[in-house]
């Protein structure tokens, strides 16, 4: 009796184990937590064969005014990028969140457009736009506003422009996600209760959208801390940032231990930002959690008073304006402003299209039309072709691997255990938060000892670290909206678990799975930081190849590649859109 009962109990207990989460947890522990921990630990290890512990690196950090200055610059850059992203992004996000479906889809497309152009290409586009003989200077001179060209490039504003352009879309998308959750009845209710438009916005809508502002700002801030390519290309030595110093220590001075100490400083900065955020808003608002489960504190009361004042101010302004009521749905100021911001976001991607048809070997404006030579150069070059093939290979494998690991994890999180969920989710999302440069250096250190530098496997594993969070988030989102009764119905109709999964669940989730796959693919396809470190003797991926060729000499081949990629990704998106529309039509 005990045997059978024991077996049944064991089976019951085994069923309670969250198996689907294990691959993801194990993967991230081995591929990220361990290497990063190892790298950070280097900061307290003494150099040389004797080994032992030391605080020398921190001593040096504390003593060197240079590092504090660089930290200051880094914080200043990240802070300004965050502030400007929120200021310019908020109206766009508001317009998107409060528009009808069709307009919303179109606006979202334009916000996301920068993502579909290689990050590197966009940065070069800014060089073309802001250079001494760049587009902007030419215009200003043409209009007679300035006599001689302004120095725009290699300045702090240029760095701001580049970083803002790279990070604002992320901020907008995050804010939209929160704003879409704000019940339209709340603003309607406020108006029937006697609140004019100004008060309705500042006292109701704005406070409710604050978690989105904070989450978007946090993401931008943390990402900005890890930027080094933009400041390196668009800035002057005055704009040197922490990651650049880490790179210098690793690549030029080969001082891993001090690099470790700098990395600890960087991680500490991220953690402080994160804790501050948690104190003010609670981490749950990052994942679209709820506001208002506890009464407001003193700080919130003060904030409320400020917003009330703003509301009254705007209402007074509203009374001065003509009393004629604007037609609902027409918001010319908001719309005009948003178009300007969207134009700013789209400009670099679109600029590359005409430039790619230039006849001269210069990435320059205006292009000398018309020639196919850079397309021929791309198609005729074995190096470029090899890089293209390799990029597809790596991105494809990355997408498959991160789906295999991420999809079960998403199932485990949504359907499975309750305790410890937050901790697991934090681990799965941590690759978004740990600065990429630190992951890259840490992987390089690990691979060097395992002899994995310059292997496809090394690259795919590294990219999967970055792709898994996107897969998990995307699939979790569709799973939450999935009616589990459909599964129950399938079981009751005689399908076992495996067949239910295969015939019912997965087909219904296809749109989400396709999106997750695409996200993972694009993440890998456009990835440069990790590629820079671990490609080694292996031929380069496309971004790496662009980087290498740009360091030697920037020529319009880059523009040709970028235009081809833009076309390709647009085609893929249209296809994905078509599939999801068809699915929706099929499933009602």
């Amino acid at each position: 009796m005990t045997g059978a009962a024991g077996l049944a109990a064991l089976r019951g207990r085994l069923r309670g184990v969250p198996w689907p989460l294990f691959p993801a947890i194990a993967f991230l522990l081995v591929m990220m937590v361990y290497p990063v921990g190892r790298f950070l630990l280097l900061s307290v290890e003494a150099r040389g064969p004797a080994g032992g512990w030391t605080t020398a690196n921190y001593q040096r950090l504390l003593d060197g005014a240079l590092y504090w200055r660089v930290l200051g610059i880094t914080l200043r850059c990240a802070g300004w990028t965050t502030l400007l992203s929120v200021l310019f992004g908020y109206p766009v996000a508001y317009l998107i969140a409060t528009s009808g479906n069709r307009l919303r889809a179109r606006l979202t497309f334009w916000v996301m457009l920068p993502f579909w152009t290689s990050f590197l290409v966009r940065t070069f586009a800014w060089i073309v736009l802001l250079g001494r003989n760049g587009v902007l200077n030419q215009w200003l001179q043409g209009l007679g506003l300035i006599e001689s060209p302004l120095r725009l490039l290699f300045t702090f504003p240029a760095v701001m422009v580049g970083m803002l352009h790279a990070l604002m879309p992320l901020c907008v998308v995050t804010m939209v996600a929160v704003m879409e959750g704000i019940d339209g009845d709340l603003t309607r209710a406020a108006m029937t209760l006697g609140a004019p438009r100004g008060s309705t916005f500042w006292r109701i809508y704005f406070p409710l959208s604050l978690p989105g502002v904070a989450a978007g700002g946090l993401l931008v801030f943390i990402s900005a801390l890890g930027f080094f390519i933009t400041p390196a290309l668009l800035g002057s030595p005055h704009e040197i940032m922490l990651p650049q110093i880490i790179l210098q220590q690793v690549q030029e001075l080969l001082n891993w231990n001090f690099a470790g100490a700098l990395a600890v400083l960087m991680v500490a900065t991220v953690l402080v930002a994160f804790l501050l955020f948690d104190r003010l808003f609670g981490v749950s608002s990052l994942t679209g959690g709820s506001a208002g489960s506890r009464p407001p504190g003193r700080l919130a009361r003060a904030g409320t008073a400020v917003l009330a004042g703003l509301g009254h101010g705007f209402d007074a302004l509203g009374r001065l304006l003509p009393a004629r009521r604007p037609r609902p749905g027409r918001r010319p100021v908001l719309f005009g402003f948003s178009l300007l911001v969207l134009g700013f976001l789209a400009l670099p991607s679109l600029l590359m299209v005409p430039v790619s048809f230039t006849r001269i070997p210069l990435l320059d404006w205006p292009p000398q039309l018309f020639s196919w030579r850079w397309y021929q150069a791309f198609l005729g070059s074995a190096t470029w072709q090899a890089a293209t093939v390799r990029s597809f290979e790596v991105a494809g494998l990355t997408a498959v691997l991160s789906m295999l690991i991420g999809v079960p994890a998403a199932f485990g999180l949504v359907r499975g255990l309750r305790r410890g969920n937050a901790a697991v989710l934090a681990l799965l999302l941590s690759p978004l938060i740990v600065p990429r440069i630190i992951i890259a250096v840490a992987l390089f250190y690990l691979y060097a000892r395992l002899d994995m530098v310059g292997t496809i496997a090394g690259l795919v594993l590294g990219h999967s670290i970055l792709a898994i969070p996107y897969v998990v988030v995307t699939v979790m989102a569709v799973l939450k909206g999935y009616d589990i009764r459909l599964d129950n119905a399938a079981w009751s109709l005689g399908a076992n678990r495996r067949r239910t999964l295969w015939h019912v669940t997965l087909p219904l989730l296809r749109a989400g799975l396709v999106a997750g796959f695409l996200f993972a693919f694009v993440t890998s396809f456009d990835e440069l930081t990790i590629a820079l470190f671990v490609t080694g003797g292996l031929g380069a991926t496309l971004p790496k190849q662009m980087w290498d060729s740009a360091i030697l000499q920037v020529d319009p081949t880059l523009a040709a590649v970028s235009t081809l990629l833009l076309l390709l990704i647009t085609a893929v998106l249209l296809l994905a859109g078509f599939i999801s529309r068809r699915d929706r039509a099929a499933h009602g």
């Binding site: 019940d183 309607r188 406020a190 029937t192 006697g194 004019p196 438009r197 208002g292 009464p295």
Partner: protein, 363 residues
């Protein structure tokens, strides 16, 4: 005397779809009017127009005789209770209720006193410092009501405010809303698709269908004197049969009703002329009698066979099949003899001519 609220030929179109045809409607001061109708019939559209949250494409809306068609919501002196309650999640219950008073820039001491007063009125004085999320559904509903009455708006609009609640709570809150209405004397426009609510609370009911007013009148009007098959069917249970008017006099109309296997008498109303019509008899108007019992002169009697007896407590519902082959539903107070009718027993179904409602045949 001018009406409190007047809609004059307002209409609304979304794209090519007409959500509301030209509609006119008046509310007296202090009246409780219910908009009733199936989903998509345009009830919310009317409410939103009155609130100023949707602009009509044409027509005029007047409040207290003053044109308010294009006034923004915050200048209309209306209050609205949303189906989702729309309590502000980032404010305490007290702040939620204080919101409309603060928008009117009233003194803080007065605001606090008023908040306290209405919280007592809805019998929830102890939840003032909680957040809306910490309240039960029924409590949230009452707070939404409190927030709406605290500033004494001239008209209160409610859009299915009880829809999300369970039946028991719904019944209780209905009584409370009615009590508040009596206490405050406010004009109320109430939207629902549940018939029972309508009958217990309203002074008048406006029945909507496909963006049109189908019929408007007291609950008794709608129940006993429906003017269309749709109205008869929507409110309460009914036996609806096809018929053909044979003969009309000032007092009585004779209708041929093949479904009943014979002719029936109806009191002459103003409904139908001659030719095809429909007749309506409410189940509780019909009485079962033994097959052979003598029939009073002038009373309708139809031979039928018992098919099913359903005992639902104080009321028993019996389904019988008439000689014409139609199933009829008969409802009566439960008595023991009625319960023991075996299926297949021959009976007689009787009702008075005055209880036959003549309706025009739907085209």
């Amino acid at each position: 005397m001018t009406a409190k609220l007047q809609l004059e030929r307002v209409w609304k179109r979304y794209g090519t779809f007409t959500a509301l045809q030209e509609t006119s409607l008046d509310l007296r001061e202090g009246e409780f009017l219910t908009l009733l109708g199936p989903s998509g019939s345009g009830k919310t559209t009317i409410l939103m127009m009155v609130a100023g949250l949707v602009l009509p494409d044409g027509g005029r809306i007047a409040i207290d005789g003053r044109d308010a068609t294009r006034d923004p919501p915050f200048r209309r002196d209306i209050g609205m209770v949303f189906q989702s309650y729309a309590l502000f999640p980032h404010m305490t219950v007290a702040d939620n209720i204080a919101f409309p008073l603060r928008m009117r820039r009233q003194r803080e001491a007065h605001v606090q006193a008023e908040v306290k007063r209405v919280l007592e009125l809805v019998q929830l004085p102890h939840v003032a410092d909680r957040m809306p999320r910490q309240l039960s559904g029924g409590q949230q509903q009452r707070i939404a009501l409190a927030r709406c009455i605290v500033y004494r708006p001239g008209i209160i609009l409610m859009d299915e405010p009880l829809g999300a609640l369970d039946k028991k709570l719904r019944d209780q809150l209905q009584i409370e809303i009615k009590r508040l209405h009596r206490q405050l004397g406010t004009t109320m426009l109430y939207v629902t698709d549940a018939q029972v609510v309508t009958l217990t609370m309203s002074d008048r009911v406006c029945l909507m269908n496909h963006g049109c007013i189908e019929q408007i009148g007291t609950p008794a009007d709608l129940y006993f004197r429906p003017r269309s098959v749709f109205a008869a069917d929507f409110l309460g249970d009914s036996n609806l049969l096809e018929g053909n008017i044979l003969q009309r006099s000032t007092s009585e109309t004779l209708v041929d009703c093949p479904g009943l296997g014979g002719r029936v008498l109806a009191a002459s109303g103003d409904a139908a002329g001659a030719g095809p019509c429909r007749i309506l008899v409410r189940p509780e108007s019909m009485v079962l009698a033994a097959a052979a019992a003598p029939v009073e002169a002038g009373c309708n009697a139809v031979a039928a066979v018992v098919r099913d007896v359903i005992f639902t407590g104080n009321v028993t519902r019996t389904t019988v099949e008439s000689a014409g082959g139609t199933l009829l539903s008969v409802a009566g107070l439960t008595h023991e003899a009625g319960l023991s009718l075996p299926p297949g027993a021959a009976v007689q179904v009787r009702w008075r001519p005055a209880q036959t409602v003549l309706l025009p045949a739907p085209r």
